[in-house]
Symmetry: C2
Subunit: 106 residues, 2 copies
């Protein structure tokens, strides 16, 4: 028996969020949608400080959803974006296990 | 011929980021890692205002990577988190195409 929750592909998740929210996001515009992302980022920070694991998970989901909806508005394919930047190792040192100095942007 | 870039599953991406960065992220701690996320969010805002499509895509990838690395530090499975919150329709109205009022959190 496998109790691992289902996985989801980044592109499928982006399509799901598009189907759910694109019409409203386009009407709101990227600036207004970014404000919602910022609110969720604040809630994530609060949850990381004093939330339950369930609350933290929900806030991660919300931040990811708002980031994704902004990507939809901007026509960015997140799967392609992360594949381009992280698919072949870290963008700094280029190694799968990062060896950049901590003071550098990893 | 199919030119669509490869997709990636959220769990596989989280594992990739864990393999690349977990050791450094644990040493830095969630607070310090959150600062890096904030820096990337700022860069995303700048790219959305005046960046090229390629620059925008790279900043989306960076924000997603930092969000993911914080999830790793907090032991949150992003695939499970989004499945729990968005897998069965929007968290507000519960419909696949959101009908919440714009003034409400969708």
């Amino acid at each position: 028996m496998n109790d691992t929750p289902p996985d989801v592909s980044l592109r499928d998740f982006q399509h799901l969020i598009r189907d759910m929210y694109l019409e409203k996001d386009v009407a709101r515009g990227i600036d207004g949608t970014f404000m919602w992302l910022m609110e969720e980022v604040g809630e994530l920070a609060a949850a990381l400080r004093e939330g339950t694991p369930q609350e933290q998970a929900a806030e991660f989901a919300d931040v990811l959803a708002w980031l994704t909806t902004i990507a939809n508005g901007g026509g960015v394919d997140l799967a392609a974006a992360v594949g381009e930047k992280y698919g072949a190792g870290g963008p700094g040192c280029g190694l799968l296990v990062c060896t950049c100095k901590d003071s550098e942007k990893p």
